[in-house]
């Protein structure tokens, strides 16, 4: 995938924040001029030095192993989250000679009978799945933190990827700050959507008499879309804050700033980026999101086409689905890299 080039602020344009100088290793980093002639010199520098990467060095494609790691984490979580529904399906339909293929028959006779069952299974499976999803969603903050650390920092002059252990340690340190940013942003987005629902509903009712209920409903959707747009922008700003927080924590090494300060710094960085480049951020997030949704749609269609087929077709579907998940992890890494470049140093 190609990255927009023009959204990278030129290196050295901004003053380095204080935290960025407190690098993980004690050894000092040689000053960089950013001139191409110095690139060769980097090869001979001390390769164990962890440093903040320059904006033009922050690229998702330079961290394939980190992206693979995110995918592997999601695969493991997905297996655990899918276990309750899988066990339920297996215990009810597994003894059929066609197995759970009957659940995929057009018409849905077995599927409806299964889901319509009066027993407690559906409720238990639903709750367990939801809880598993929530738990892994929360734990996922560590993975996000590690991914940002891996994207934002590099070893030596060439900015080689830090080890997985190093990134994960940074992710664990970033867990609470990232979770807090997430909760704050989620609450704000939820409130905006809540207000949006209320405003759009009263718009609908106010317009029903004059426009008729069909057009009033369209107006309701338009108003709701407006609020949803605002909530999305809040989400993008939250992402900017996240990457700033996670990067700074990664760079602070074993002497991280207090949580509130690192959150405050992250929010300040996000605010300044918003003033400077919210348009570019929205664009960068937007096209990746559209692509990501298209991938999900492809995955869904593939499942639809595969239907109840088993054997080789099922394995092929598995591969397609996992490629979708992997590509989406790549797109997320690409967005985070872009956000890091926008936030700058």
């Amino acid at each position: 995938m190609t990255e927009p080039r023009d959204d990278t602020p030129a290196a050295g344009e901004e003053a380095q924040p204080a935290t960025a100088t407190a690098t993980a290793t004690a050894s000092s980093t040689e000053p960089e001029t950013g001139a191409p002639s110095t690139r060769d010199d980097r090869d001979h520098a001390d390769d164990d030095t962890l440093r903040a990467l320059e904006p033009d060095e922050i690229r998702a494609r330079r961290r394939p192993r980190a992206i693979l790691f995110v995918w592997a984490w999601e695969l493991a979580c997905a297996f655990l989250i899918a276990t309750p529904i899988h066990s339920w399906a297996k215990s009810v339909w597994g003894a059929h000679p066609d197995g759970d293929a009957v659940l995929f028959r057009p018409g849905g006779h077995a599927l409806l009978s299964w889901l319509g069952d009066d027993g407690p299974a559906l409720g238990i499976v639903f709750r367990t799945t939801l809880i598993a999803l929530a738990v892994f969603g929360v734990l996922g903050q560590i993975i996000t933190g590690a991914l940002v650390a891996s994207l934002a920092t590099g070893l030596g002059k060439r900015g080689r990827p830090p080890s997985m252990t190093l990134s994960l340690r940074a992710g664990i340190r970033a867990f609470f700050p990232l979770l807090s940013v997430g909760v704050l942003a989620g609450a704000l987005e939820g409130s905006i959507l809540g207000i949006g629902l209320a405003v759009s509903s009263s718009t609908d009712h106010a317009l029903q008499a004059s426009l008729g209920d069909a057009r009033a409903f369209t107006a309701r959707l338009a108003v709701l879309a407006l609020f949803a747009g605002v909530a999305l922008i809040v989400g993008i700003i939250a992402d900017l804050a996240r990457v700033a927080v996670a990067r700074d924590i990664a760079l602070a090494g074993d002497r991280p700033a207090p949580m509130l300060r690192s959150m405050r710094d992250g929010l300040v960085a996000a605010a300044s980026t918003t003033r400077r480049a919210i348009g570019r951020a929205t664009l960068a997030w937007g096209w990746r999101t559209v692509l990501s949704l298209a991938l999900i749609w492809i995955g869904a269609r593939a499942g639809d086409i595969a239907g109840g087929r088993g054997g080789g077709a099922l394995w092929l579907l598995f591969v397609v689905h996992q490629l979708v998940i992997l590509a989406r992890a790549g797109l997320r890494a690409s967005w985070l890299a872009n956000a890091l470049r926008l936030v700058g140093r």
Binding site: A78, I81, A82, I85, H86, A89, K90, W93, G94, A95, H96, P97, G99, D100, A101, L103, F104, P106, G107, G108, H109, A110, W114, G116, D118, L133, F136, G137, T144, E189, Q208, L211, G212, D213, A214, R215, F217, A228, A231, L232, G235, T289, L293, I296, W297, A300, R301, G303, D304, G308, G310, L314, F318, H321, V324, I325, R328, A329, R332, W335
Partner: protein, 660 residues
């Protein structure tokens, strides 16, 4: 990426992708063959109760001033000394009416009107040649101890002999209620049903099939000719039963006269905001009245009629009327939707409902189907509601499947759910605690009424069709609907037709399913498979004694075993049992289902791996589809790898939505 943004966008994406018809939807006109071309069909109904009425709407006071004449003939074999007249708007008069006091939820019409409704008789005169008898004073509106005023008794000054016709002059005032169930007003929208004094159906034995307006009950009337002149303020658009024969505009009023024979009720609607679309389909002038902004729904309803008119015509006989009006009420009056009157039906569903969720089509086909089962057969809906709603639900399922394929209920986001599968799941889920064939007033709850009268009756008929052959069922219902057109058939007529056309087994199952709470559950309770062995022991053969030791009895490459199938419950459908061997080969065994269990021996070159009873899912009423199969002990099960794979994909997708 935010989870909710993802969810919303995915739904929108899926909706757009499916907007141009789901992939499984079958396009093009249906192949229609006449189900019973040899069976003659009455061209006209017997004229028993005819109404020449005028109705003037005041859309601000929500009143209708009505008047006119009723001609009524004693079509029974006995003299009649009283009339029974239904005044059904009084169901909404107060909370003491039978309708309002029924402690029943779970169906429709559970709101209390914010504006009560009523019908007040102002004039009732029996015209007997030169003689005129005022009957108004003798009208007995209620019974002692009962406030209900929907079922009035009118003593006559003299007996009316069999075959004799009388004329009544009537005048009355309706106060329409806010819409609680089917009829009433919402703003300037008026749906006017059950609005005139109507004589109860006289049975052949001289008794009146009269009954108060029950919460769950529908209607039953004699056929006749309706000549109704509707008078509304100019600017209102009127939809009504029968074709318009005369339109006048005078002093700010629109006056429209509708005349239709061979019908047994009349309803109309008036609204100043209706959008009108007309199309002639198979010689029938179809009019769709809908609120502004519903153009797509209007198109979908017309598409439905382009399919349904030829389809139902071939199945159940030609639609005999020149017009059909479809009324889509505004969202705030949705309770007026989903109802049938002669040549006028009301549809519904929210404006945003995308194609693929075929609920607009389903409600349109369902209400149109009533033109046959309610309109033309005209069974007693109070005593046998299933004869209308159950048969019509079966017809709806059949038509939707013929039109839209296996995703006939919904075909959306990769999910193909059949209308009939959803119906039968509802039937199984509710069970069989009550009879299907009982009066509307005796069901314990509204949910029981809905699940039994609609779903279980439809699933029973579908099961019979699948077990004995769909062509036979097509033919049987084709015969029934032709033979009993305009004849008010009873359950006996239906069961007799099924016996004649499908056979005694089908008729017995139908009888037990309708009248005896019949149910069925097929199950495979045992499977066994082992290497084949011949007998060991001492054998006297050809004058010599031979001893065969057990370790010498193995028949190489042969396996024996058996499958035990049981049938629980009282219905006895023939079924197939599929035997699956470890080499992948499959064979089928038929069982008539008459006994309570059936032991099927197995012998083959590979071991028996598993067995399935009813592998083609014909017995939709089977109470537990999840015990219809078994894998032999010692063999690995097929498991649920598809659910695991799908579950993992969607879990990872959702998880990805929770992180930036």
């Amino acid at each position: 990426m935010r989870l909710w943004a993802l969810a919303v966008s995915t739904v929108l994406l899926a909706a757009t992708a499916l907007a141009s018809d789901g992939p499984r939807a079958l396009a093009g006109p249906p192949v229609v063959t006449d189900a019973a071309p040899d069976v003659p069909m009455a061209e006209h109904a017997e004229n028993v109760a005819s109404y020449t009425l005028r109705a003037k709407l005041d859309p601000v006071a929500h009143t209708v001033h009505g008047g006119g004449t009723i001609t009524w003939r004693n079509a029974s074999s006995k003299p009649v000394s009283e009339l029974w007249m239904h005044l059904y708007l009084n169901a909404f008069k107060n909370q003491s009416s039978v309708f309002m006091r029924a402690p029943i939820g779970g169906f429709r019409g559970n709101r209390i009107p914010t504006d009560w409704g009523s019908i007040d008789l102002k004039k009732l005169v029996l015209v007997d040649g030169e003689k005129r008898d005022d009957l108004l004073g003798g009208v007995e509106l209620k019974r002692p101890g009962d406030e209900d005023e929907t079922d009035a008794r009118i003593p006559l000054p003299r007996e009316v002999e069999p075959g004799e016709q009388i004329t009544l002059e009537v005048e009355w005032v309706d106060k329409l209620p806010t819409i609680v169930e089917r009829t009433g007003y919402d703003g300037s929208f008026h749906m006017v049903g059950q609005w005139f004094p109507k004589i109860a159906k006289l049975e052949a034995d001289g008794t009146f099939a009269h009954f108060p307006f029950h919460h769950l009950g529908e209607f039953y009337s004699d056929f006749g000719t309706y000549d109704v002149t509707i008078d509304v303020p100019d600017g209102f658009i009127v939809g009504a039963t029968g074709p318009v024969v005369e339109t006048k505009r005078e002093s700010g009023r629109l006056v429209q006269r509708h005349v239709q024979s061979d019908i047994h009720d009349f309803a109309w609607t008036a609204w100043d905001k209706f959008q009108v679309r007309k199309e002639t389909i198979l010689g029938v002038d179809v009019t769709v009245l809908a609120p502004p902004g519903y153009d797509d729904h209007v198109e979908r309803e017309l598409e439905t009629m382009r399919f349904a008119l030829p389809h139902f015509g071939a199945r159940y006989g030609k639609y005999p009327y020149p017009v059909l009006t479809l009324v889509h009420p505004p969202a705030s009056a949705s309770e007026a939707g989903g109802m049938e009157y002669p040549t006028l039906i009301t549809t519904g569903q929210p404006s945003w409902l995308p194609r693929g969720l075929w609920f607009v089509e389903t409600v349109t086909i369902h209400e149109f189907g009533h033109q046959y089962f309610y309109g033309l057969a005209a069974s007693n809906e109070d005593a046998w509601p299933f004869l209308d709603e159950g048969l019509n639900s079966y017809a709806e399922n059949e038509a939707m499947r013929a039109w839209k394929g296996p995703g006939s209920g919904l075909d959306f986001a990769g999910l193909a759910i059949g209308d009939v599968e959803a119906q039968s799941e509802r039937a199984r889920h509710f069970g069989h605690d009550e009879k299907i064939a009982q009066g509307a007033g005796t069901f314990a709850t509204g949910s029981a009424y809905g699940a039994l009268v609609y779903s279980r009756a439809a699933a029973l008929l579908e099961t019979i069709a699948r077990a004995y052959g769909k062509e036979k069922m097509d033919r049987a219902l084709g015969v029934y609907m032709r033979k009993f057109r305009f004849k008010h058939p009873t359950p006996k007529d239906l069961i007799a037709t099924i016996r004649d056309e499908i056979g005694p087994g089908a008729a017995e199952n139908l009888h037990a399913g309708l009248l005896e709470k019949g149910w069925v559950d097929y199950a495979i309770t045992q499977t066994s498979s082992h290497p084949s062995r011949s007998a060991a022991g001492m054998f006297d053969r050809d004058g010599k004694r031979e001893t065969i030791s057990p370790d010498k009895t193995l028949n190489p490459n042969r396996y024996d075993g058996y499958v035990l199938v049981v049938r629980r419950g009282t219905l006895r459908f023939p079924v197939e049992i599929e035997l699956v061997s470890t080499d992948g080969s499959r064979s089928r065994v038929k069982w008539d289902g008459q006994t309570e269990s059936y032991r099927i021996p197995y012998s083959g070159s590979s071991a028996l791996r598993a067995a399935v009873v009813d592998p083609d899912e014909r017995i939709l009423l089977d109470q537990h589809p999840e015990n219809d199969f078994a894998t032999a002990p010692g063999h690995p099960t097929a498991g649920a790898p598809r659910v695991l794979e799908r579950g993992m994909f969607w879990a990872a997708t959702l998880l990805g939505g929770l992180t930036p």
